[in-house]
Structure formats: structure tokens, C-alpha cells
């Protein structure tokens, strides 16, 4: 039962992130949503590692660690892009950033 | 001597036994039969609370002592007396009761929240600041058998919690709605992020050699005599200095106290805080400083080990706190000696000197571990660490920047 609860929590967190990514138009908030979704993914990895038949293989843990590292890189690059977009277009609203030339 | 060594543990056992006896007596008296898990639960809670209360009391006493001794030591280094007035009736006690007076003053001051402040964040910032600071000391081994929490990845715990003070600094600076606060907070965050890298790198060097992230294992690896302490190896000496400098920066101590530099930023992120909240910030800063010094003792100065076997009649926890006191004194000493950095100097120092040096000490430690022969190990690791030091020290800071001629708007 505990695994299902954890998975449900992770699903809700994922949907909260999805809600931000779909409905908010501020690029930073979209990025926040993506981070939440990645967190939900990590929670799934850990939950499956905890309840797996062979926890000593560390598969879920390794996935989670790599995912955290990649999420950090993603956040850094994403925010750098947002700052660059803001510098060129004077806005961080993704609906207004619709030009292909900078 | 054995008695002194065991005193803290014996006290804990005594309290636990007393609580157990009291519970049993109360049960017998009232006729309630307490289930086994009930007694066990009570004792578990008491044991946890004992440790928490002890840590908090010890660190607060150290904070109080430090706040007065720092002023006295600083004064002595500047040929003054320092605070020597506050005492008890006609006994002056060298002014050691000054923290009591300071505390009363802080607590009775008006708590001012600026009208434009974000009230919730402004209220939460001191709490976010002090909570991790009080959690930091939990993994430091204070003596034999005196580790509050034995965590396999204790060093990681320490740095993970230490990183969260940045958040509190930002919250304090941003919520005050004051440009000096925001600028001070930004400086503080830039400083903490920059110096966290060499801090963690120099701790990783020790973890590499000791083969463990557990503070207790690291201390045990330095047992025996002073020659086994990591500070007495080339890589360890360099890593220890790097850790010390980064600790100064992380604790916002002089010469890295520019986030709250009074002369240019009023008081940085603390500008809009008064009374009790200010006292909490102050306390968190000092507790954080003691914790990071405790970590330095654990990683490089042999933790609770005596410097020589014949000195081990002094209890282990005395050695730990003695080393801690020396480090705290040395931080005041540095404060009395060095002037404050400028922000660009500070960042350049971090990125151009500290981080390359921490990589050098990492390589040097690897050479130490895998060269086999002791003489070869010494020579190799000294060279690997010494050459970058000389090169960086020569060319990073001695370059004189050409200063542009100042242009005047009106006078020309």
C-alpha cells in the first residue's frame, strides 16, 4: 500500500508541475513547473528502489542522482536562456516571445 | 581521568535511569500498566531531547562567551581594555556578564517591521536562518562515544544544511524592501556560492583519503599522534587552509564581512532587523561559525584525538573543545589583522585562487594515496600543491591593473 501512496503523491506533484507548465505564461514559472515534474520523477525512482526486490543494486538511486545533476544543468541553461530572451525582447512572457529573429 | 572522560555519557545514563525509575514509580503509584513500547517511547524521546537540549545549551553558552571574549580579544589586539564593566553588584568579573546585559537589551528592544516589507517572509527569515544553524552541530563527533547522530554521509549533511543559509539571507534582504538590504543579500549569496566550492572540495579531499563521508570514521583515521592528523600532510595543510578561508567567508567573518559592511551597506541584509530578530541572526551566525570550526577540527585537526598518546589522560571532549576554542580565537585574530575585501577582489580570490588550489590539493592527495613510498609521497604531493601556489600567488594578485584616468563631469 505504501508504494501506491508514494506513487499517487508523485503523480499529484507531477500534475502540479504540469499545471504550471501549461497555464502560466511566465517563462520562469514554466521552468519551476518543469523542476517540480523532475522532482516527481525522482520520487518515483526512490519509491521503486525502496520497494524493489534488489535494493542493493542501487538502480533507482543512481537514476535519481543523475537526474538531480541533469536537472541542475537544465535549470542553469534554462535560466540563462530566459535572461537572454529578456535582454532581447524585454519580456519573459512566453506568449510574447514569438519572433524567430532576435 | 576515566571518570571525566565518561562524565557526559554517565550523565546521560543517569538521567535515562532516573526517568525510567520515575515512570515505573508513577505507574505503580497510579496503578496504570504502561505497555513496553510506551516506556521505550518515553525513553527514546527523553534521550533525543537530552541530546538536543545539550547541544543547544552548549552552543548558546559558547555564543555568549564568544560575543564578549571576541570584543575583549579584539580590544587587546588594539591596545584597549574592551568591555570590563558588567558584573554582579560590586564584583566586576572582568565584564564576563556582558552577554546577559546585551541579551536583556536585545529582548526589550522594539521589534520594527518596515511598512513596505513583506511581513511573512520578513518574519520567517530569522527562523530559516537559525534552524539549519542549530542542526549543523548534530553530526560532529565531540568525544569518544559522543556523536549526536552517526550519519554515514555526515559531511554531505553538513554542507546540504549549510547551503540553506543562503536562502535565509536572500529572504531577509528581499523582504526588507530596502536597497541596501537587497544589495547586501546579493553580495552575501555571491560570496557563499563562490566559497562553497572550495569548502566542499577541500572536505572531499579528506573524504577521498579517509575513504568515508562519516565524520566519526574520519576522526578515527587520524588517531594516534599529531603526525596522523591530516593537517600535517602537504595536501592536508593546503586543504585545511582553504577550508579555513572558506569557513571565514561562509560565516561572514572579517575579512569577508562585506555583505554587512557597515561603511558601505549600513548592515546589509540585517539593516531592517531589530531587537530579537536581529539577535537571532547574530546567534545563527555565531553558531554556524562554531559548527564550521567544529567541522574543521573533525576533518583536519584530528577531532577529539589527543596530539600525543601520553596526553590522552585529558578527556577527548576537552581536546575537541580546546581545538575549537583555538580556532575561534584565530578567527578573532584574523579579524583584528586583515582589512575588508572589496567585492571584486573577493570573487576573484575565490575563482582564480581558491578553486584551482582546491583542485591542486585534490590531485596532491591522490598522489599521496597511490605513490606507495612515504618519501616519494611527501615529495610528490608537496610539489603538486606548492607549484600552483607559487604560480597563482605570483601572477593572480601582483598584476597591477592600469587605472583609467578619472573623468570629471563638471570640472573640466
Amino acid at each position: 500500500m505504501m508504494l501506491q501512496i508514494l506513487l499517487a503523491i508523485s503523480a499529484i506533484l507531477f500534475c502540479i508541475g504540469l499545471l504550471a507548465a501549461l497555464t502560466r505564461s511566465n517563462a520562469i514559472l514554466v521552468l519551476i513547473g518543469i523542476e517540480l515534474m523532475l522532482g516527481a520523477g525522482n520520487l518515483n525512482f526512490i519509491a521503486f528502489w525502496k520497494f524493489s526486490a534488489h535494493p542493493e543494486l542501487l538502480t533507482g538511486v543512481m537514476f535519481a542522482i543523475f537526474s538531480i545533476a541533469l536537472a541542475a544543468a537544465e535549470a542553469a541553461v534554462g535560466l540563462a536562456i530566459i535572461i537572454q530572451v529578456h535582454r532581447r525582447l524585454r519580456t519573459v512572457n512566453i506568449n510574447k516571445a514569438d519572433q524567430l529573429k532576435g | 581521568m576515566n571518570f571525566l572522560e565518561n562524565l557526559p555519557l554517565a550523565a546521560k545514563k543517569l538521567v535515562l535511569d532516573l526517568v525510567e525509575a520515575a515512570c515505573k514509580w508513577a505507574c505503580a503509584k497510579t496503578g496504570i500498566t504502561l505497555p513496553d513500547w510506551g516506556l521505550s517511547l518515553i525513553l527514546s524521546l527523553v534521550s533525543v531531547l537530552l541530546v538536543i537540549v545539550t547541544i543547544i545549551v552548549v552552543y548558546l553558552v559558547m555564543f555568549a562567551l564568544m560575543s564578549v571574549l571576541e570584543r575583549k580579544i579584539l580590544a587587546r589586539m588594539q591596545n584597549r581594555y574592551g568591555p570590563n564593566r558588567v558584573g554582579f553588584f560590586r564584583w566586576r568579573l572582568w565584564g564576563l556578564l556582558q552577554p546577559v546585559a546585551d541579551g536583556i537589551k536585545m529582548l526589550t528592544k522594539e521589534d520594527i517591521v518596515p511598512r513596505g516589507a513583506d511581513k511573512i517572509v520578513h518574519f520567517l527569515a530569522p527562523i530559516v536562518m537559525v534552524a539549519p544553524a542549530l542542526m549543523l552541530p548534530a553530526i560532529i563527533p565531540y568525544g569518544r562515544g559522543m556523536v549526536p547522530i552517526e550519519l554515514a554521509s555526515g559531511i554531505l549533511y553538513f554542507f546540504a544544511l549549510g547551503a540553506s543559509t543562503e536562502l535565509a539571507v536572500f529572504m531577509a534582504g528581499w523582504s526588507s524592501n530596502n536597497k541596501y538590504s537587497v544589495m547586501g543579500a546579493m553580495r552575501a549569496i555571491a560570496q557563499m556560492i563562490s566559497y562553497e566550492l572550495p569548502l566542499i572540495m577541500s572536505a572531499v579531499v579528506v573524504a577521498l583519503v579517509a575513504g568515508s563521508l562519516s565524520p566519526l570514521k574520519i576522526v578515527e583515521a587520524q588517531g594516534g599522534s599529531i603526525l596522523n592528523w591530516f593537517v600535517c600532510t602537504p595536501w592536508g595543510f593546503v586543504a585545511c587552509l582553504l577550508f579555513y578561508i572558506s569557513a571565514l567567508a561562509e560565516a561572514n567573518r572579517c575579512p569577508f564581512d562585506l555583505p554587512e559592511g557597515e561603511s558601505e551597506l549600513v548592515a546589509g541584509h540585517l539593516t531592517e532587523y531589530s531587537g530579537f530578530k536581529y539577535a537571532i541572526f547574530f546567534m545563527a551566525e555565531y553558531v554556524g561559525m562554531f559548527a564550521i570550526n567544529g567541522m574543521l577540527v573533525t576533518l583536519f585537526l584530528g577531532g577529539f584525538n589527543a596530539p600525543a598518546p601520553f596526553l590522552s589522560f585529558i578527556p577527548s571532549w576537552c581536546w575537541f573543545f580546546g581545538k575549537l576554542a583555538f580556532l575561534a580565537f584565530s578567527m578573532v585574530w584574523v579579524r583584528a589583522t586583515l582589512p575588508r575585501f572589496r567585492i571584486d577582489q573577493m570573487l576573484q580570490f575565490a575563482w582564480k585562487f581558491m578553486i584551482p588550489m582546491s583542485f591542486a590539493s585534490f590531485l596532491s592527495a591522490a598522489a599521496w594515496c597511490y605513490s606507495g613510498n612515504a618519501a616519494l609521497a611527501w615529495a610528490l604531493s608537496t610539489v603538486i600543491v606548492g607549484v600552483p601556489y607559487l604560480v597563482l600567488g605570483r601572477f593572480c594578485f601582483t598584476r597591477h591593473h592600469a587605472v583609467d584616468n578619472r573623468r570629471y563631469l563638471y570640472s573640466e
Binding site: - | 587587546r76 589586539m77 588594539q78 591596545n79 585574530w333 586583515l338 597563482l392 600567488g393
Partner: protein, 220 residues
């Protein structure tokens, strides 16, 4: 070769020596120059001044120099002096103050009252422990508190007091001299006047005699 970082060590050595030295050579005058105030009091320099006081010679009742001329009251820039002239039983003004108050919370220590006093009676004190819990009445100093002996003045400002005494003495000498001269002059004048009067009288007598005889002459 200059090793990087050696400068820091030198600086640390200096502060460490200060630290140790401040405990060891306590007697050395150059170190720890802080004066522990309530126990150790500074010897004030002679020229130091704080608030004005009134000088009396001998007896505070009779020896008071002030004559209630009110020049200082008029000259005082912050107007902190208040003077009422004394009167005798008949309601005639006498040259002595009945009330002399200085509000030292207003006084700015400018010493102008001292400069303008023609009777050398007001001078600057060097007291500095005058704080009180009362903002108003405790800081208005009345005549009986202001009056201090000339000896006290000699104690706090010896040079200045000597100069003042010399001036008073000179003035007194001059005054007695002028008085004597005036008296002599007056006596001389009186004598002269008497002589003149006698002369005039004699002349008048002569004239009278002449006139008594004279009218006869035109009659002739």
C-alpha cells in the same frame, strides 16, 4: 624571493604581539591608554572650561563681586542668564544680585559673559559631572550654587586667576591713586577756591570801597 601570503603572517605577528604585550607591560605608558573613568579621573588641562560660576572674596554674603549690572545677561547669546537686582529695606536698589540663575542646559560655554564682565566676577568652571534625571529645574543653577571662592578659581585656572587678581590689584591701586589724586586735587581746588574766594572777597571789598567812593567822583 617573496613568498605569497607572507605579508599576512607579518600582520598576524603584529597583532599577536599587541595581544600578549597588552597583558604583560601594563606599566608601559604607551599601551592601554584608556582611562577607567569613574575610578581614574583625567587631570583636565588648565584651559578646559564648561559652565560659568560667580566668584566671591572671603564671605559669600558680603564678598560677592557681582554688582547686578546685567551686562552678561544682555550679552549672553543663548540668553541663559537671569539676574534680579537686590533692594534694601527702603526699596532702594543696591549693587548686589538677589537672583542669579544660569540654565546650563542652554549655556553653550562661549565665555562671552566672562569677556564682558567689568567686575571680574563671572568665570568659567571645569566641572563635567552635571547630568541629572530632571531636564528642567535640576539644570538651572542658582546663585548659592554658582558662588565659588576665589581660592577655588585659583585651584582650577591658576594662571588666569593670577592674572585676574593682578588686574584687580592694579585697578585697586589705580583707583586709590586716582582717588588720592582726586582728593588732593579737590583739596587743592578747595584751597584754591577758598583763596580765590578770599581774593574775590577782598577785591569785592575794595570794589565796594571804591564804589562807595566812586559815585562821589562822578558827582563831582
Amino acid at each position: 624571493m617573496n613568498i605569497p601570503g607572507s605579508g599576512i603572517l607579518k600582520g598576524m605577528a603584529v597583532t599577536a604581539l599587541n595581544f600578549v604585550g597588552s597583558f604583560l607591560d601594563r606599566a608601559h605608558a604607551k599601551r592601554l591608554i584608556t582611562e577607567q573613568y569613574p575610578e581614574e579621573r583625567p587631570t583636565l588641562p588648565e584651559a578646559s572650561r564648561s559652565f560659568p560660576f560667580l566668584i566671591f572674596d572671603g564671605n559669600p554674603e558680603t564678598g560677592i563681586r557681582c554688582v547686578a549690572c546685567k551686562i552678561c545677561e544682555k550679552e549672553c547669546p543663548p540668553q541663559c542668564i537671569y539676574i534680579v537686582q537686590d533692594k534694601d529695606a527702603n526699596g532702594k536698589a543696591i549693587r548686589r544680585p538677589k537672583v542669579f540663575d544660569i540654565d546650563i542646559s542652554v549655556c553653550m560655554g562661549c565665555q562671552i559673559c566672562v569677556e564682558v564682565c567689568p567686575f571680574e566676577s563671572i568665570r568659567m568652571d571645569n566641572i563635567y559631572e552635571v547630568s541629572s534625571y530632571d531636564r528642567f529645574s535640576a539644570l538651572v543653577v542658582s546663585k548659592d550654587k554658582l558662588l565659588k571662592s576665589n581660592e577655588y578659581y585659583h585651584q582650577i585656572h591658576p594662571t588666569e586667576a593670577d592674572a585676574t587678581d593682578a588686574r584687580i590689584e592694579a585697578a585697586r591701586v589705580k583707583k586709590t591713586a586716582t582717588a588720592k589724586a582726586a582728593a588732593e586735587k579737590a583739596a587743592a581746588a578747595k584751597a584754591a577756591a577758598a583763596a580765590k574766594a578770599a581774593e574775590e572777597k577782598a577785591a569785592a571789598d575794595q570794589a565796594a570801597a571804591a564804589t562807595t567812593t566812586q559815585p562821589e567822583q562822578p558827582a563831582q
